[in-house]
């Protein structure tokens, strides 16, 4: 009897191990079922929300588009250089994530400024060098008002808007959004919370495995 219980417990533990190692990140956002026929059979497939094409200018005043993120996973957020509330915390944390994946050609970072008026590429450049970032693995981008606020709300599900009642005139959430190679949303993490940022780093490892492991 004792043995049976032991075996049961052992297999439970074993199973829970297996489950965590095979855990797959969910796909977030809107979804739509579509019917398609494969080999004469009717199948139901699901189409998930994806990030549409975009084109911005980065800290070096070079155009950056969705193509620069093809075949990579990336983490994205919304901020502005003079933001003196949550942004320093977000980018202190993002810097840790960046440092961990620095030099990995499969990983990129994309920070959008929501201060369309003042954060021109030259302003972004000075911010970036003060943060201690070189190269273009982490892109800081400036775009038109509509394209930035539009993509925040519709594609990355991050709320960001101009608000005259706010002391700085701009309000935004501190989410870090994880995007896969199919441009699907795979995770949202509060960039001001250390534990959630640690989770993001674990999830990035998991996603890299899912996306690139059978390539090698």
């Amino acid at each position: 009897m004792k043995k049976v219980v032991l075996v049961a417990i052992a297999s439970l533990i074993f199973q829970s191990c297996v489950n965590t190692s095979e855990r797959k990140l969910p796909i977030l956002g809107e979804r739509e079922p579509v019917e398609k026929t494969v080999d004469g059979k009717l199948l139901i497939d699901t189409i998930y929300q994806t990030v549409p094409a975009f084109s911005y200018f980065n800290q070096d005043s070079i155009p950056v588009t969705n193509k620069d993120f093809d075949n990579k996973i990336y983490v994205t957020d919304f901020f502005f250089t003079s933001c003196n509330t949550i942004c320093p915390i977000m980018h202190r944390n993002m810097l840790n994530v960046y440092t961990k994946f620095k030099g990995n050609p499969k990983v990129k970072f994309l920070s959008h400024t929501i201060d369309i008026k003042y954060d021109l590429p030259s302003k972004l450049k000075s911010y970036v060098s003060k943060l201690g970032i070189e190269g273009n693995q982490w892109e800081f981008v400036h775009g038109s008002r509509d394209s930035i606020f539009g993509i925040a709300a519709k594609s990355y599900l991050v709320s960001a808007f101009e608000d005259s009642a706010d002391p700085q005139g701009l309000v935004h959430q501190g989410w870090f959004i994880l995007v896969d190679t199919k441009k699907q949303l795979r995770g949202a993490y509060d960039g001001t919370k250390e534990d959630q940022v640690n989770q993001l780093m674990k999830d990035m490892e998991l996603l890299l495995k899912e996306e690139f492991d059978n390539e090698e």
Binding site: N84, I86, P88, H91, R92, L95, Y127, K130, L131, G132
Partner: protein, 141 residues
Amino acid sequence: MRNKLIYFIFLTIAFTSMIQSCQNETSINFKRYYVNGKGLYEKNCQNCHGSDGKGLGTLYPPLTDSSYLNLKRNKLACIIRNGQTGTVRVNNIAYDGIMPGNQTLADIDIAQVIVYITNSFGNKQDFYDSEFAKNDLVKCK
């Protein structure tokens, strides 16, 4: 003669206990200031200067430069209340940013934050109470 001796002993005891209670009072005050200062720091300063006081890149300077903090000891209250712009050199690195002011912090709050930052992150300085802050704040430019 005997009376004198008793009188002397009594005086000594009274005197030492007076000093001791004084000391205790400063150390209790110090602790109170430090604990409150920590809370105020977390709410008003930590986002930029960090929980370890190390700042962030050259965007936000660290608060780990004891000699800088000591040199500016009488200016800290003004920096905290009115903010600061222009170039500062901390740990021999130049920082050129904008620190917003904290107009809502009372004199005592500012003194408490100063006790906290000048006694954390490897700093160790003397007690600084709200009277000091009041005197220093009058001289803000």
